[in-house]
Each structure stands twice: as structure tokens, then as C-alpha cells.
């Protein structure tokens, strides 16, 4: 059974079926959306049970596509992509449940969501350079229409900025892919990884092109400016997918393309990339500290968390010790997953708060914990997770990244300051929104209903599970990272 193909294309087929249906009420559309994303989630669980292999890709599915230029339809998995695939299918499933209240042009919304899921799964599983680029770009179009069509007040400007910024960002990757193709005669990413075709100055130029693309997507300082605008204006599910899934395209590409396909150039530029990671981590934390808009604040903490991932990958390229290298990559990959769970949940919770209050400015709230305990305690738990509290999802990831950093490039450990800053900003936000004197405007606020609890509880459980007993997840990553070829 070609399960990978099935999981990738089931969503878009569901979308097409929805278009063909005569009855396209909001109810039918959301029912379809939940059913399809649910089945896809189940499929990815089966894919997980089939497992990966050390030192290469597993569950490969291959089909001729454009034989004349060596491009083929190739899908496969390893310990880097499998956790991200699981994260993607989970977040899309939860987003579908959460979005069921959207009544404005619901069928179009659902079709876009399903198209995005196909693009996201395809991006993580593609083993063909051209195919990867196709999925990578399709996601961009889907997200543009998502923000422009269902976002908040200033959505047009934010969507436009997002589209132009990220298209400009992704075109250098196309150049790099063409360069890799011309020097190897194939678009097979496995060939590019096993025998990096570019050397010397060509490799460095390709690396710079790829770094630009992925830095925009991650986003790393100083090409992060689209992120706060897009996040704040996107509809809640859009923010969750953007932060939880699409930012991972950048970090995934950083490892899969930049590190694995131009390893020598990457090692040469390692210190610079490490510095970008450190600056992003610090900058994200301090910029978040300056926000009073809650959504913007979370958006900036994403830059901070993704900064740690960049640090982990850079350290892996710099170190000569295989053990340290594995620790760094394990940490970086785990950080991607943790960030998806934690920030995804935070954006869901902010969406729920905004649904009730139509505001996201922290100064407008106060003392909500007694009024809405489910919302409040969930937010507090996730905030603690986000600031890296031991026992919650981010801790094992960041711990490994810092451990490897300290061992390889001790100067970079200054990034740890960012943890103090995030601790401060989250405590401030919790105090302003959930503690203190109650604002009488919100006396009527309802707590989470059953559907909302259904969305949040899985993320809460997973966050604690990854924090307390991360071995089931780390083992999946570790097998690949130990034998990662670059």
C-alpha cells in the first residue's frame, strides 16, 4: 500500500470531492474536513508503526514523472521527517475540529486547508528536488488566500507582504536546485545527499541561496519581518499551521538541503550560521518582551525558539565529535516538534480568547483565571512549556542544544539569556491576563466548551509526555541522526 502517497493526496482529493458535492453547506464542509484530516492522522500513525531505517530513507514510493530531466515522483521518510509528518497531520486534524465554527464561505476555507495539508505533508516527504519545490510553493499560495480571505482587520496588507516576501525568499532555492541538478543530472535528493554534487565556490553560492530561502521561512533575524504581521492577521487555524507546520519547512530544509547537500560549505559558514541562530534567539525574546498584543508576542517567541534550532544545526556542522553532533541534531529536531505542539496550543488558546473578547491586547484583560479556569490553566501550562520549564516539551530539546553548544562553541551559550527573558515575558502576560483584579467587562466570559477542550487536551497531554518521557520520540529521531550522512 502506498501509504505515503495516500496520506499526501487524500486531503486534496477530499477538497475536490467537496467542490463536486451538490450540497456545500458549512456543516457538510466541516464534516468532510474533520473526517479527511482524521483519516490522514490515522494513516500517519500506521506509517509511524512501519518505522524508519538507520542511515537512509524508508518506505520509499517512486514513480516516473519527467524522465527526460531525471525528475520523478519520489516520497520517503527518515527520522527527521517522520516526527514532522506526525506533527503536521495532528495539527491539521485539531485545526479542522477548531475551525468547525467558521461559517463565512466555509467550503472554500476547507478546500484551502486541505490543499495546505497536502502541500505540507508533501514537503516533508518529497525525495525529489523539483517535487519538494512544488509542494513548498503550493503551501505559500494556500496560506496567502487563507490570510487574505479569513484574517483580521489588516489582512490584505499582511497577506500581500507574506506572499511577496516568501516568494522572493523561495526563488533562490529554485536556483540552488537547478544548480544541484545540472551538476548531478538528476533531481533525486538521495543522490544529492549521498554524493554532494557541488564543491568549492559553487557549493558556497548554492548554500547562500538555500540559507536565504530557509532563513525567510524559519524565520531568522533579519528576514523575519513578515512573520508578526502574518501571524497577527491570520485566522487562528492559519496561525497554528503557519507556526506549527510551515516554519518547520525552513528548519527541515536547513538540515535536509543546506546541511546534507552542501556539508563542506555549511561547516565553513558554521560560525556565521550559529551567530544568526544566537541573534535570532535573543532578538526574538527581547522583541516579544516589548509586545502588548498577545498574538504578536507569541509570534516573536517563535523566532526565539527557531533560533535554538538554527543553533543546534550549526553546532552539528561545526563539531567533529559524532556524539555531540547527534545530541545537537536530536535537540534541534525535537525542538521543531515541541515548538509545533506548544506554540500550536498557544495560538489555539489565544484564538479562543479572541473569539470571546474580540481583543488580544493584554492590558484589556485581568483576573480571568477564576472566570475561565480551563482556558487559564491551559495557557499557563503552555506558557511554562514555552519558556522551557523542565518536565515540559521544550526542556529536553533546548537542554540538548545548549549542551552541544557549550561543548563546541562556548561563546554561543549567551543565547541562554533568552530563556530568562522569555520567562519574564510569559510571567508578565500571565499576570496581566489571568491574575490580578478582574475586569468587569469580561464577567460573562464562558469557559472552554467541549469542542475546544477536544482541541487543547491532546496538545496538553503530548506536551507533558514529551517533557517527562521524551524517549519514544527521541529514539525515532536518534536512529536517523546517529547515521545522518553529510
Amino acid at each position: 500500500m502506498p501509504l505515503l502517497t495516500l496520506a499526501t493526496f487524500l486531503p486534496i482529493l477530499g477538497g475536490l470531492a467537496l467542490i463536486a458535492l451538490p450540497n456545500r453547506s458549512a456543516r457538510v464542509a466541516h464534516g468532510m474536513s474533520i473526517a479527511v484530516t482524521g483519516v490522514v492522522f490515522m494513516l500517519t500513525l500506521v506509517i509511524w508503526s512501519r518505522g524508519t531505517v538507520a542511515g537512509g530513507f524508508a518506505q520509499i514510493e517512486e514513480l516516473a514523472w519527467i524522465p527526460a530531466i531525471g525528475a520523478a515522483y519520489r516520497l520517503g521518510l527518515d527520522g527527521l521527517s517522520l516526527p514532522l509528518v506526525l506533527l503536521t497531520s495532528l495539527l491539521f486534524f485539531l485545526s479542522a475540529i477548531y475551525s468547525a465554527r467558521i461559517s463565512d464561505r466555509a467550503p472554500s476555507y476547507v478546500v484551502l486547508m486541505l490543499m495546505l495539508e497536502t502541500a505540507a505533508l508533501g514537503t516533508f516527504m518529497a525525495l525529489d528536488g523539483l517535487l519538494f519545490y512544488v509542494f513548498f510553493e503550493v503551501s505559500l499560495v494556500g496560506m496567502y488566500f487563507m490570510i487574505a480571505g479569513w484574517g483580521y482587520e489588516d489582512r490584505q496588507r499582511a497577506a500581500l507582504m507574506f506572499f511577496i516576501y516568501t516568494l522572493l525568499g523561495s526563488l533562490p532555492l529554485l536556483l540552488a536546485i537547478i544548480g544541484l541538478y545540472l551538476s548531478s543530472g538528476t533531481f533525486d535528493m538521495r543522490v544529492w545527499i549521498d554524493m554532494p554534487p557541488l564543491t568549492g565556490i559553487a557549493a558556497m553560492l548554492a548554500l547562500i541561496a538555500m540559507l536565504f530561502t530557509f532563513a525567510v521561512k524559519i524565520p531568522a533575524f533579519p528576514v523575519h519581518t513578515w512573520l508578526p504581521a502574518a501571524h497577527v492577521q491570520a485566522p487562528t487555524a492559519g496561525s497554528v499551521i503557519l507556526a506549527g507546520v510551515m516554519l518547520k519547512f525552513g528548519t527541515y530544509g536547513l538540515v535536509r538541503f543546506a546541511l546534507q547537500m552542501t556539508p563542506e560549505a555549511f561547516a565553513q559558514a558554521g560560525q556565521v550560521i550559529l551567530a544568526v541562530g544566537v541573534v535570532s534567539a535573543l532578538y526574538g525574546a527581547f522583541a516579544a518582551l516589548a509586545q502588548s498584543d498577545l498574538k504578536k508576542m507569541i509570534a516573536y517567541t517563535s523566532i526565539n525558539h527557531m533560533g535554538y534550532v538554527v543553533m543546534g544545526v550549526a553546532v552539528a556542522a561545526l563539531t567533529v565529535d559524532l556524539r555531540i553532533r547527534t545530541i545537537a541534531l536530536d535537540g534541534a529536531t525535537l525542538q521543531m516538534v515541541s515548538h509545533g505542539l506548544v506554540t500550536g496550543a498557544l495560538f489555539f488558546l489565544l484564538g479562543m480568547l479572541q473569539d470571546r473578547a474580540h481583543s488580544r491586547d493584554m492590558s484589556e484583560f485581568g483576573g480571568l483565571l477564576g472566570r475561565v479556569p480551563w482556558l487559564g490553566w491551559s495557557f499557563i501550562l503552555m506558557a511554562f512549556a514555552s519558556l522551557g520549564l523542565p518536565g515540559l516539551a521544550h526542556f529536553p530539546a533546548e537542554f540538548q542544544v545548549f549542551l552541544a553548544t557549550l561543548n563546541t562553541a562556548p561563546w554561543a551559550i549567551i543565547a541562554i539569556l533568552a530563556i530568562v527573558v522569555t520567562a519574564g515575558l510569559y510571567l508578565r502576560a500571565i499576570a496581566a491576563v489571568f491574575l490580578g483584579s478582574e475586569n468587569e467587562k469580561w464577567l460573562e466570559m464562558r469557559d472552554l466548551d467541549r469542542r475546544e477542550k477536544l482541541v487543547i487536551v491532546p496538545l496538553l497531554i503530548l506536551t507533558v509526555l514529551v517533557g517527562v518521557a521524551p524517549s519514544w520520540l527521541i529514539n525515532m529521531i536518534h536512529t536517523t541522526m546517529e547515521s545522518l550522512s553529510f
Partner: protein
């Protein structure tokens, strides 16, 4: 002789159809003329298929039956059929309707000659045949704008055509033959290759609307009926591109033509999109974008001989461009000529909206649409030929293109300000058919690109 004629069956079919259409027009049976045209085009397309893999010449090497001319027929003939349907939707019942159909088929015949020409004389014949018919087509509405546009088009065409013929005589003088295949003899000679090159660039550059020979295009497209603009922007442009391919692949690169073409390509792309950014008339906007598209085609011309992907790339982008541009113009025929007419279009007509969005995104080159496949081929070809800087400019221009096309896409999904009755009437079935077919090609073929030539 019989062998030669048997290879020309599609051309012969098309010219006979055109003659019959003139007869039908004389009997005031415009509808019959349309049917004859469509049947003739369909038959010619089908009969092209068996000779797609032929690689030969007929009539002493003057006319080429090869990959380029074969695929040119497969693109231009169905493209013309779609254009005929669009014309029908726009001018049905008007005086001289049948003449328009006949003229269109004759211009397409000229286009086929350009795409298959292997000889200076055939090239000149193609330029004249496409030119004369096009001037009349632009002047069809007989109002001031159309007359002025046709006049501009004619004068420009006459001047560039004469310059071209004059310059080409240098090649004949240098080689002693009018065949392109003999042009290799010019290798290393000074000046003579350049004289002919300048002539070809002026003559065909005018037809393909390359900067700086593009001035007629926006006026002609805007003055002519929208369907004629669609036809001219696709058929005559592609014919000129294919003619460029036939000539330049035989011209020795020692004359430095790739660099000249590369510079023209860069300027054309950039100028086209920059100017499109400030247009408020949809037809003019698309006109400037199609100027920019000519620049993209030149990416493939530059790489002729240096990359095996150049010719397949030109064919793939040619097919994609025909579908996207015809489709986009067909949508404009429904929405109206002004950018403001697009406001709320996507909400009012969701399916057409999706079709329009896919045409525009495909023109930018966003995957997985058809235009993306063509552009990847051409970027790869240009880089393989050593023109990395040109590929970079092309890629940067894609961002400019996004800015241009978003000016159409963004208002499409804003709430319409007022709902006027005129736009509520259901569109002509022929237009719906054209949009359906072109959208299918744009959306579907991106995935099936493996079946295309390479």
C-alpha cells in the same frame, strides 16, 4: 514532390479551409465559415500527430518538418480554434464576421510558415502573411481607436519588415544561399552575421513584441476586440518565437548573438512588468505582461545549442503560455476591460475566479501549474548555457510579476461595491468552453509534463 506535399497536409488543409471560409462569407454564412474553420483546424491538428517524430525538410530544405514545427502546429492550431470560439462570442452577428474567421486562419497559416521556415524567403513570406492579416484584424471595429492602432501596427510592421529584408540580403551575399542550414559558413566572418542578426531581431522582435520594438502591442491589443488581442498575443507571438528558434540555432555563436539576445531578454522582462505595474486597463496590463513573457521565451533562445533543454522548454512554455493567455483574455471578456471590473469577480463567479487565479499564478510560474514547468526548463537551460545572471534576473522578475498579478487577484476577492445587472447575464457558452479547456490544460498538464517532448 508527392513526398514533400504529404508532409504539408496540415498546411494545405488549413489554406483550403481558409479559401472555403471566404466562399462561405460571400454567401453570408458566417456560421458555416466558423464550422469549416474549426473542422479544418481539428483535422490539421490530428494529421500533425503522425509526423511529430519526423525530422526532415521538404522542398529543397526550405521548409522544416521537425520537433519545433510539429509542436508549433500542435500548439498554434488548437490555439487558433479556441481563438475562433472567443471571436464568435464577441462579434457574433456583426457585419464581416466570416471574414474575420478566414483572416485568422490565414494568419495562422503564416504563423506555421514562420515556425517551420528553413529559408530566408519562407521567413519573409511568413512575416508578410501574418502581418497583413493582423493589420486588418486589428482594424475590424472601424472606430477611431482601432483605426489608429491598426495604422500604428501597419507602419511599424512595414518599416521593420523592410529593414529585415534589407538586412537578410547580407546573409545571402555572404553565404550564397538563402537556406538557414548554410549559415554555418558565416563562422568567423566579421560584420555580415551581425547585419543579418540585427535584421532578424528587428523583424521578428517586432512580431514577438520584444523591447524596444514593442510600442505597437498595447495599442493594438487595446484597440482591437479583446478576442483578437488574445489571438495576436498568442499566435503571432509564438510564431515569432519559433521562427527565432529556427534561425538562431543555425547561426554560429561566434557572432555573439546569445549575449545580444540575453540583454534584450533581461530588458524586455523587466520593462514589461514594471510598466504593467501602473496600468489600470486590464487589456493593457495583460499586454505589457505578455511583452514580459516574450523576454522569458528568450531565455530558451539564448541557450539554443548549449542546452538540450532549450527547445523542449520553448515548446512547453509555448503551450502553457497559449493556454494561460487565451484563458485570461477569455475571463476579461466576461468581466470587462477595466481593473475595477475585477472587484468581487471571484466571489460572484467562484469557478471562473479559480480559473483566472490559476492562469495568473501559472503566468508567474508558481508550481504545480503548467507555466512553472516551462519556466523551470528555461531557467535550467539558461544556466546550463552559462547565463546564470539572466536566470537570476528572470527569477527576480517573477516577484515583480507577482506584484502585477496580485493587482488583479486581490480585488477579485473583495466584496463587490455594486451589483449591476449587465454583469449578471450568463456568459457566452463558447467562452465557458474556452475557459474550461484552458484551465484544464493549465491545471492538469503541470503534473503530466512527463509526456511532453524532451
Amino acid at each position: 514532390m508527392e513526398r514533400d506535399l504529404s508532409f504539408l497536409i496540415p498546411e494545405l488543409l488549413l489554406s483550403s479551409a481558409a479559401m472555403l471560409m471566404i466562399v462561405a462569407e460571400m454567401m453570408r454564412a458566417a456560421r458555416l465559415a466558423l464550422v469549416i474553420g474549426l473542422v479544418g483546424l481539428a483535422a490539421a491538428t490530428l494529421l500533425t500527430l503522425p509526423m511529430l517524430h519526423a525530422d526532415t525538410t521538404v522542398f529543397s530544405g526550405t521548409y522544416r518538418i521537425d520537433l519545433i514545427s510539429g509542436w508549433a502546429k500542435l500548439i498554434l492550431l488548437p490555439g487558433t480554434a479556441l481563438a475562433l470560439l472567443m471571436v464568435r462570442a464577441e462579434i457574433a452577428g456583426q457585419d464581416r464576421e466570416g471574414s474575420v474567421y478566414a483572416l485568422i486562419c490565414l494568419v495562422t497559416l503564416g504563423a506555421l510558415m514562420l515556425a517551420g521556415g528553413g529559408d530566408i524567403m519562407v521567413l519573409v513570406l511568413g512575416v508578410v502573411l501574418t502581418g497583413l492579416g493582423s493589420f486588418a484584424l486589428v482594424a475590424f471595429p472601424r472606430d477611431d481607436a482601432a483605426t489608429e492602432a491598426a495604422m500604428k501596427y501597419l507602419v511599424f510592421g512595414a518599416v521593420t519588415g523592410s529593414v529585415m529584408i534589407y538586412g537578410l540580403t547580407f546573409w545571402f551575399g555572404g553565404v550564397g544561399s538563402t537556406l538557414f542550414s548554410e549559415l554555418g559558413a558565416l563562422d568567423g566572418k566579421p560584420l555580415i552575421p551581425t547585419a543579418g542578426l540585427v535584421a532578424v531581431i528587428i523583424g521578428l522582435g517586432y512580431k514577438a513584441a520584444l523591447v524596444p520594438f514593442h510600442f505597437w502591442a498595447p495599442d493594438a491589443y487595446d484597440g482591437a476586440p479583446v478576442s483578437i488581442a488574445a489571438y495576436l498575443s498568442v499566435i503571432t507571438k509564438l510564431a515569432a518565437i519559433f521562427a527565432f528558434t529556427q534561425v538562431l540555432r543555425d547561426l554560429p555563436t561566434s557572432s555573439g548573438w546569445p549575449l545580444v539576445i540575453a540583454v534584450i531578454s533581461a530588458v524586455t522582462m523587466t520593462y514589461g512588468y514594471l510598466t504593467a505595474l501602473v496600468q489600470t486597463n486590464l487589456v493593457r496590463l495583460i499586454a505589457y505582461c505578455s511583452i514580459a513573457q516574450s523576454g522569458y521565451f528568450m531565455l530558451g533562445i539564448v541557450a539554443l545549442g548549449a542546452s538540450s533543454l532549450a527547445v523542449p522548454g520553448l515548446i512547453v512554455l509555448g503551450a502553457a503560455y497559449a493556454a494561460m493567455n487565451l484563458g485570461a483574455f477569455a475571463v476579461v471578456m466576461i468581466s470587462g476591460r477595466s481593473l475595477d471590473d475585477m472587484r468581487g469577480f471571484g466571489r460572484k463567479r467562484p469557478v471562473m475566479g479559480v480559473a483566472m487565479v490559476s492562469f495568473l499564478l501559472s503566468l508567474i510560474g508558481i508550481p504545480p501549474l503548467f507555466g512553472f514547468v516551462g519556466k523551470v526548463y528555461l531557467f535550467t537551460a539558461a544556466i546550463e548555457a552559462g547565463f546564470v545572471w539572466l536566470a537570476v534576473i528572470g527569477i527576480l522578475n517573477s516577484v515583480l510579476a507577482l506584484g502585477v498579478y496580485l493587482r488583479i487577484i486581490v480585488p477579485m476577492y473583495q466584496p463587490a461595491q455594486d451589483i449591476d445587472e449587465s454583469s449578471e447575464k450568463s456568459p457566452h457558452p463558447a467562452l465557458v468552453a474556452v475557459i474550461g479547456i484552458t484551465a484544464l490544460v493549465t491545471l492538469g498538464v503541470g503534473f503530466l509534463a512527463g509526456f511532453l517532448p524532451a
